[in-house]
């Protein structure tokens, strides 16, 4: 292996390890939030927005009908009701869906330090797309 190949391999290892570390911890945070919220939901510590006993007659309905019958909001409207056990779970789900943002930011900084402009732009655009998707602006969630 030439010196250039060794350097390239080392750079790729550094990228992978940084991404892995940040992905691991951000995922753990999401899972922890999800497990705590789910435990609070199932064990009745946080009262649910939709009673557990009613779920079998509701989870077989199309989403539009379900939202109408249970008065559950779309978009980020659930955040105002996150003191309810079921909707509190969406905090953990949101954290999981956002897990890739921290590793992408970590990579962006690494590429910026190395002056690898193409990969800086790629990471930045992916981050913007994820943030737009989360905002609900692109998806009509609001």
């Amino acid at each position: 292996m030439t010196a250039a190949q060794q350097l390239h391999a080392q750079e790729q290892r550094d990228e992978s390890l940084r991404y892995a570390l940040l992905l691991d911890w951000s995922t753990r945070l999401g899972v922890l939030a999800l497990l705590l919220a789910f435990a609070a939901y199932v064990f009745g510590i946080l009262p649910p927005h939709v009673p557990l006993e009613q779920l079998p007659s509701l989870w077989n309905l199309p989403v539009g009908t379900y939202l109408q019958r249970t008065a559950t909001p779309t978009g980020w409207g659930w955040l105002a009701l996150a003191y309810h056990g079921d909707l509190a779970n969406l905090v953990g789900i949101g954290l999981l869906a956002a897990s890739s943002m921290a590793p992408l930011l970590g990579l962006l900084l690494l590429y910026a330090k190395r002056k690898e402009r193409v990969y800086v732009v790629i990471c930045a655009v992916i981050l913007v797309v994820l943030m737009l998707a989360a905002s609900g602006l692109l998806t009509g969630g609001h």
């Binding site: 989870w59 999981l96 990969y119």
Partner: protein
């Protein structure tokens, strides 16, 4: 974890898969657009059954490189009493969770390439949002039929391909050279160091644009399409394809999952037991990926895709 234990687990995994195929094939499926009957079981039964099912799917899905959502949607949508809207929302989260759980391990093991994943994920992330919006607008039966046909097409493609474990790439294309997309990985099964490079990168980028649409539309993740595209089209070794597919999935499914979340199609009682079960199973599955031979993974991919494709097609046709 000892290798002998992992190999024994792999054998049991294959037997379990076959048993699951026969067992589930014998059960009745609901047509895609039919009203799902209300269950008479207590509310806690179905979340518990979901957890166990997803744990088993997680073990199988990661070494197959197809993402848990590919199996989740046809199995849970067909045999559990939840509406397809919630199944697809949970399916995307399951695929996401499966990819997130395995991602760090695959990256540390050198089986996933960040440089390969990022350009592909960029286009697929954008198109998956479009796909998710289309998927929530189209009738479920149309989506199921299209899904079944696409998956069966991939099975045919994989059966026809002769060399896929270590594809021969004589000359990398200019784009992949400019982006520095190449690498070396140590094959855990043979102990060999494998140099890899890619070709047809522009075509690969276009294919991933289409894959993103399908991932969002069907709510099943995209590993089933990622692996053949990386392996057969771009010439990436099978194990690196499977590993990198997980990394691409973790990004693509994130953007599509937000669409379902914003539209209220994520029901925590369906999604959380599925996600947790899948993540636990995927951790075991990721260890098996490093130990299993590539040819074994390939057979598993074909079997699982054939099964999932047939289920989706039959369900879409109301059979």
């Amino acid at each position: 974890m000892p290798k002998s234990f992992l190999r024994a687990l792999a054998r049991w995994q294959q037997l379990g898969l076959l048993a699951a195929v026969f067992l589930i094939s014998g059960l009745p499926a609901y047509a895609a657009d039919s009203v799902v009957p209300t269950s008479t079981m207590p509310w806690w039964f179905w979340p518990l059954a979901l957890f166990v099912t997803c744990f088993l799917i997680g073990i199988v899905a990661v070494p197959a490189g197809i993402g848990g959502g590919t199996l989740f949607v046809p199995i849970i949508g067909g045999f559990f009493p939840f509406h397809l809207d919630f199944v697809r929302g949970a399916g995307l989260l399951v695929a996401l969770a499966s990819a997130l759980a395995a991602g760090p391990m695959l990256l540390r093991g050198g089986l996933a390439s960040v440089r390969l994943a990022l350009p592909l994920a960029l286009l697929a992330c954008m198109s998956s949002i479009v796909g998710a919006l289309l998927g929530l607008a189209l009738p479920a039966s149309v989506i199921q039929i299209a899904l079944g046909l696409i998956v069966l097409g991939i099975v045919a493609l994989m059966l026809a391909a002769k060399k896929s474990e270590f594809p021969q790439v004589a000359q990398p294309d200019r784009l992949s050279s400019a982006l520095g997309i190449h690498g070396v990985f140590i094959d855990g099964a043979s102990g060999r160091a494998i140099d890899w490079q890619v070709h047809r990168t522009p075509l690969g980028l276009f294919v991933f644009l289409m894959i993103g649409v399908m991932a969002g539309m069907f709510g099943i993740g995209a590993g089933w399409a990622n692996v053949p595209a990386l392996n057969l089209l771009m010439g990436v070794p099978l194990k690196v394809s499977a590993g990198t597919s997980g990394l691409v999935l973790s990004l693509v499914d994130s953007s599509a999952a937000w669409v379902y979340l914003n539209r209220g199609a994520v029901l925590p009682m369906v999604a959380v037991p599925s996600v947790v079960g899948m993540m636990l199973g995927a951790r075991i599955g990721a260890r098996l990926l490093h130990v299993l031979k590539g040819s074994v993974i390939r057979k598993m991919v074909i079997t699982l895709l054939l099964f999932a494709g047939l289920r989706a097609l039959l369900k879409g046709l109301g059979v």
